[in-house]
């Protein structure tokens, strides 16, 4: 009954014409159909953020997004960060500050940081922004709140915050 739906996905600058069951998530599409296994499946229910990718520039949980809804969208995954100036700096900072231990959440964390910095530059507030009418300085408290959608079971949070702080200083 589901049938297959034609979908054109632009992933890391490359167009893919696919025919997908509407039950396929963007996450499974990336990993199983396109072989891009850098994006990780953690909880598969939108609770951990390991599957974070950018869709038209915004970070989303790819596990909760039907791939057919991404028809025509520009998807950016961790695989593209090697060729991205900011993405590379974020990855280097994670290494320098031990922003990981087992590494399973890391690709989601990196994608999330890149989008989070863009959100902050665009002036978006967070739940800990005291004055909603102006730009918020990117304090450690702001960084932690803005990265709350990415869990790290190894508890590398202090290293992650330090890495982000370094990226924003350079």
């Amino acid at each position: 009954m589901s049938g297959h739906i034609p979908v054109r996905l632009h992933v890391n600058g490359q167009a893919h014409d696919l025919s997908l069951d509407p039950r396929v998530t963007l996450l499974d599409c990336l990993r199983e159909h396109l072989g891009l296994t850098g994006t990780k499946k953690g909880c598969d229910q939108g609770a951990c953020g390991a599957c974070t990718v950018l869709a038209d520039g915004e970070r989303i949980n790819s596990c909760l997004t039907p791939a057919v809804q991404c028809d025509g969208m520009e998807i950016v995954t961790i695989e593209a960060m090697a060729n991205d100036e900011l993405g590379t700096r974020v990855q280097d900072a994670f290494l320098a500050h031990d922003g990981l231990q087992c590494g399973y959440c890391t690709s989601g964390q990196i994608c999330s940081v890149v989008a989070m910095l863009a959100e902050h530059r665009a002036g978006r507030p967070s739940a800990v922004t005291e004055d909603l009418t102006g730009p918020a300085p990117l304090t450690d408290v702001e960084i932690r709140e803005r990265m709350a959608g990415n869990l790290c079971r190894c508890g590398a949070y202090n290293g992650i915050v330090a890495a982000i702080r370094e990226v924003t200083r350079t």
């Binding site: 009954m1 589901s2 049938g3 739906i5 509407p22 039950r23 998530t25 598969d44 229910q45 939108g46 953020g49 974070t52 915004e58 970070r59 989303i60 949980n61 909760l64 997004t65 039907p66 057919v68 809804q69 999330s112 989008a115 989070m116 959100e119 665009a122 002036g123 978006r124 507030p125 967070s126 739940a127 922004t129 909603l132 009418t133 932690r144 709140e145 803005r146 709350a148 959608g149």
Partner: protein, 325 residues
């Protein structure tokens, strides 16, 4: 996940026609798609409305603001007009979910999101909401996060939204289009108490599509949205609270109090508001209001703390807001 027919609508009229009485509308998918994967939701027809032109945030004649049903939670919270004129709504949205989820979740989807009661998600548990007449395992189960107000022996689930609590305090209006045309309902009357039919959660009739939410013109009050949860961020509320207060010359002129995490719907504490309006804005009045807000509370085995938590939150927030007036 069960198979389903995936349909795309070109406009609102076609969406309503395609959905029919049994179809489900798919917007951001953050709740529906998850429930479909768990097979709690098993729609045979899913109408993808995510491309419909319903994401604008526009001024209303007379000074209000219209939020398109497909406006993303993140975009509403970041909108300059919302931040300046309806900060209680911006704060509520920002305290909900995570940045990733807020980038997908929509205004309309947030209104119709379903409870996070574990027994509702657990297909091996009895749940009247999932299967009418099956019973309620939460009633005698682990019900620490469940309702203290307005519940019934059939269902003690709570509505999980933060946004809706702020909308209830603001007296927002929900605009719908259905098979019989357009209509509007106050958000305070949009969600229903469980009674004998906990599977009927809103006034939406089969095929109704939420098209927008209207915020009334802003008024000169101080407001805040307070949320208490088990961790500092990214968790559903144990108790949350939207308060709007207008104090002039030491007297409360207007007050709105809505509680989240305590009932099957965003809970307007009208009796607490009545204790405030016209009275001196002092701690005695705030004590009376806070007590009135939870006077009808009927805690379950594991959630008596919620009534005291709600009472203290109401009192503290009123004291703080009066201090700003």
């Amino acid at each position: 996940m069960r198979e389903f027919a995936y349909l795309r609508a070109a406009d609102v009229a076609e969406a309503v026609e395609l959905a029919g009485p049994q179809g489900k509308y798919l917007a951001g998918g953050t709740n529906l798609f998850d429930l479909m994967r768990e097979e709690v939701e098993r729609p045979e027809r899913v109408v993808d409305i995510s491309r419909l032109p319903l994401s604008a945030i526009e001024p209303l004649p007379g000074g209000g603001l219209r939020l398109g049903a497909l406006a993303r939670n993140a975009h509403v919270a970041a909108d300059d007009r919302v931040r300046r004129r309806y900060p209680v709504l911006a704060r509520a949205l920002l305290k909900g979910a995570s940045p990733q989820l807020r980038n997908r979740a929509t205004v309309g989807g947030n209104l119709v999101q379903r409870t996070r009661c574990r027994y509702f998600y657990d297909l091996t548990a009895a749940c009247n909401k999932r299967e009418p007449g099956a019973g309620c395992d939460a009633l005698g189960g682990f019900n620490r996060t469940h309702a203290i107000l307005g519940a019934s022996p059939n269902c003690v689930a709570v509505h999980p939204s933060d946004m809706c609590v702020a909308l209830a305090a603001l007296d927002a209006t929900v605009n719908l289009t259905g098979p019989d045309g357009e209509r509007s309902v106050p958000v305070t009357g949009f969600h229903l108490l469980p009674g004998g039919t906990p599977h009927v959660e809103t006034v939406l009739r089969n095929g109704d599509l939420i098209t927008s939410v209207d915020l009334p013109p802003e008024r000169p009050w101080h407001g805040d949205y307070v949320k208490v949860r088990d961790r500092a961020s990214y968790a559903f509320a144990l108790v949350s609270l939207a308060v709007l207060l207008d104090v002039r010359h030491g007297r409360t002129v207007a007050a709105r109090i809505a509680l989240g995490g305590v009932a099957h719907k965003p809970w307007r504490a009208y009796s607490a508001e009545e204790q405030l309006v016209g009275a001196a804005a002092d701690e005695a009045a705030f004590d009376r209001a806070a007590a009135a807000a939870v006077a009808e509370a009927r805690p379950l085995d594991h959630n008596a703390f919620k009534a005291e938590l709600a009472r203290r939150l109401v009192r503290r927030t009123l004291v703080e807001l009066a201090g700003q007036s």
